[in-house]
């Protein structure tokens, strides 16, 4: 009672206004729910339901907040802060949208090139400020002058940049848009929610609502996390759920999707093995070719087995992707293990080699694929040229006549996928080398010393110490490389023409997903492929995890 009596008149007024405001918010959202359903607004049913749920929540929470503030409980303040903050964010985004801020980025792209040099000046100013660390000046005055020069250069560069990209026109346009009715609503909302937030954040008000020491951390925690969390929910978690929903529909990005149940999945997984009387018996003799397409056949003596599937492209893609993983992962991991062991020696120049090996992994895959496309050229490419040189050398050395194969790398269905494997291995090897190197540097040297005392050779040390101690790194390297390899797309898309390669030899799961979703616009089906892909990736990682855990159990 004594605490309440000390509340001054101003705070009391704020609290009263807060209660009214909460009630008003609840009332307004209740009215808008009614409007949505009564006036039959033009929007899809799911949007109506979603908006009603959100509105209903606002009604309940806002009324609860009003009641708690009336009771002078701190949870009322928390609830009000959350609601007002969300309202503020919504109004802010709405205002940006009305002012065509997001669309305006395109216009910025038009003039951005002219501004880049001035951004360079800004960066220069920043480095000027950094310079001070490297050349400490004894005189206090000089030190501050360098810093202020850097500040002015940065500011000047940035102002010039803004001027070059026509920022002023953009701002005027933005403000002009805000004077439209919808813009005014957004700005009004911003002001009201902002004022409410400001009033709630006043220490007196917080005190009047019995704030405790831990509450500050709760508020700050959610506040700091909120931009990230909101964006994450809207652009990651939400779409993920949506993808799951789409995989059960025939969504095509235009019409309202129809519920299909498990149809997409059963089409993907519908396969059939049939016995063939002879290895070259026609597929139509043994399966219903209206449903099934031949994917492949295996010969068993005089008979054979036919593998047919309802969606043959999926199974071809799965076959190619798994083949790719099976070769690309060892090809990029084993040489990396070897190289990292060499780099771990304390010879001079190792940092240089490490940097060189790392270079392929940072270059754009699209650019790299274009380079390799010309390296692979069958008539003028360097790879065939090197092979020719090698064979000539070999023939002269041993006086034999090995025939130059003149491999048609990307246009031959037998080598096309292998060409992609080589690029991928080349590109990830250096990254894996650096990972292994770090793992190696964490192995305590005493282990090796002890082994040397016991008379172990270099080979024994590698098998007995290096490999077991490196097991966690190996697990990390192998699983990340596998996850990445399962998603192979860009190399295939750029290098192959058409992307699925000769006789579908390079169609991969992601490529098939892209083709289904964005060329045939069967987006529901594409979503189902995505989930199958995810399950395959998850399964592979789980297997590796199990193996790693078992091997580490053996160790201990």
């Amino acid at each position: 009672m004594t605490a309440q009596s000390r509340i001054d008149a101003q705070t009391n007024l704020i609290l009263r206004i807060q209660i009214v405001w909460r009630g008003l918010v609840a009332l307004l959202s209740a009215i808008s729910i009614g409007l949505i359903w009564l006036r039959m607004m033009e929007m899809p049913l799911w949007q109506k339901i979603l908006l009603s749920i959100v509105g209903g929540l606002v009604v309940v929470i806002s009324s609860y907040g009003a009641y708690q503030i009336l009771k002078r409980s701190h949870s009322g303040r928390m609830v009000s802060l959350v609601l007002d903050y969300l309202g503020f964010v919504v109004c802010f985004v709405f205002a940006l949208n009305v002012g065509e801020f997001f669309i305006g980025i395109d216009a910025l792209g038009e003039n951005f090139g002219k501004g880049i040099p001035y951004l360079g000046i800004t960066a220069l100013g920043y480095f000027l400020g950094m310079l001070e660390e490297y050349f400490p000046v004894k005189n206090k005055n000089e030190e501050s002058s360098l810093k202020s020069v850097s500040k002015w250069v940065m500011l000047g560069g940035f102002v010039l940049f803004l001027w070059q990209v026509n920022a002023l026109n953009g701002i005027i346009y933005f403000l002009g848009k805000l004077t439209q009715p919808s813009g005014l609503i957004a700005v009004t909302g911003l002001v009201i929610f902002g004022m409410s937030l400001w009033s709630l954040s006043r220490p007196n008000v917080a005190h009047a609502l019995n704030v405790k020491t831990g509450h500050e951390q709760i508020i700050n925690g959610w506040l700091f996390l909120s931009p990230n969390l909101l964006g994450f929910l809207i652009f990651f978690a939400g779409p993920l759920l949506l993808s799951f929903y789409f995989s059960f529909t025939d969504s095509d990005a235009i019409r309202t999707p129809n519920w299909l149940g498990f149809d997409n999945y059963s089409k993907i997984l519908n396969i059939k093995f049939s016995r063939l009387d002879s290895p070259d018996q026609l597929a139509r003799d043994v399966v219903d070719i209206k449903v099934y397409d031949e994917v492949g056949r295996f010969t068993l003596g005089n008979t054979g087995i036919l593998f047919a599937a309802a969606d043959k492209f999926f199974w071809l893609a799965l076959r190619n992707t798994l083949t790719f993983v099976l070769f690309a992962v060892p090809l990029s991991v084993i040489p990396a293990l070897l190289l990292s062991n060499i780099l771990n020696s304390k010879l001079p120049g190792m940092k240089f080699y490490r940097a060189v090996y790392f270079m392929p992994s940072i270059a754009a895959v699209v650019g790299i694929s274009l380079v390799w496309q010309w390296l692979y050229n069958a008539t003028i490419g360097y790879i065939n040229y090197f092979i020719t040189l090698g064979i000539e050398f070999w023939n002269n050395l041993f006086n034999v006549a090995v025939v130059d194969p003149k491999i048609q790398w990307v246009s031959d269905e037998n080598t096309a996928l292998f060409a992609i494997i080589i690029i991928a291995a080349w590109q990830t090897m250096g990254f894996n080398t650096v990972l292994f190197l770090a793992g190696l540097q964490n192995i305590p040297g005493e282990l090796y010393e002890a082994a040397t005392v016991d008379g172990a050779g270099a080979w024994d040390k590698f098998w007995g110490i290096t490999l077991p101690m490196l097991a966690p790194t190996t697990f990390y390297v192998v699983s990340t490389t596998t996850i990445q390899a399962m998603q192979v797309f860009e190399q295939v898309f750029i290098l192959m023409n058409p992307p699925e390669g000769p006789n579908n030899s390079t169609i991969t799961l992601v490529l098939y997903l892209y083709r289904s979703g964005f060329q045939n616009f069967q987006q529901g089906y594409a979503s189902a492929i995505a989930w199958v892909l995810f399950i395959v990736i998850f399964g592979l990682t789980l297997i590796q995890f199990q193996r790693q855990r078992r091997s580490s159990i053996y160790e201990s």
Partner: protein, 405 residues
Amino acid sequence: MKSYRFVRFLSNFGVYFVLTFFAFVMLFPFLYMLSTSFKIPADTFRYPPRMLPRDPVTIQVEGYEEPLPLYFVEVDGVSKEYALAKSNIKVGVYAPADDQTNTVERFISEVKPTGGVMNQQKVTINGEEVKLFDVEVNGQVIPMILVSQTTVGEFIDPQNPESEPIFQNVRLSEPVENISWHPENYTEVIELNNLGRALTNTTLVTVLVVIGQLVTSVFGGYAFARLRFPGRDTVFVFYLGTIMIPFVMLIVPLYQLMVLIGWTDRLASLIIPWIFTAYGTFLMRQHFITFPKEIEEAALLDGASRFAILKDIIIPASVPALATQATFTFLYAWNSFIWPLVIINVGNEKNHVLTLALNVLRGRASDTPNLILAGAAIAIVPPLIVFILGQRFFVESVAGSGVKG
């Protein structure tokens, strides 16, 4: 002792040999890209391929308007530089009908048909009628048949154009070349093939994504690492669980979301969804959690706000971690391809990023690899420069992620 040293020398030699071999394998495609991007188209299609870009040399010869290309020509057993004055001169290989191995070569324009144009004589060989020509051999006219044809070029001595010309096959002659670089390939690809606009778009997108992602992950990471609030750990576990989910899972629903908001074909769709990442937040959290708590508590007692602590104490001390994440994000945003491919229309070249422009260039300039590879270099070199500048931070932190993982 001496032999021990020798063995060590040998093993070191072996080590450097293996390392240099792999370094060559790693660097060769980049060197090839750079050298080809400075070539002229004809040079790129030459076999055997050469590293340095070369141009054919031409020379101005008296009596000719255009400068003439120079070739190596063998005159009296000595190789000399002669100018090609006239090419595509038709030469016939003639032989008597009864002895086709005994051939002579004559310019077709100088050989007359036997019996005149209107009434050319013919012989029958293997049941086929073959035309006869009057060919002069050592002052004697002999009727012969045309066995085959080739073309030759007329080569003249540039110092003495009036002297006796040399005739020989142009394609088999080696042109005189000098090393010359063609940086204009880059200006051509930037101005004519939309790579300039794509470059600025990519830069804009990358800069905004890097800044946006740093801001959201610093705040999120700090909240996860330092602030205690109910629900924090649940959300964090949720974040961790999604790190493994590959991006292709989201491509369809995110596309539909962009259609709904109206951001298809807009640069905004390449920026806004990318500034919120679970992985970046996780990395920042891992970094902030190692930061000593005592400094923060002291600042709190002095009445500093959480925001002030973050801005004045934690961020200045975290520049290496921030630089690392900025480099990661830079590479990811700069190199991304599948999302722009899906969301930006091929026809809307104004909003193309580099990877998309390269994809278009690949189809458009398939007969000029020098332009394609100049485009590839524009896409590849800036990340390499960023890498070389931030190498120290970057390689160390990649190494760190492996040890922790």
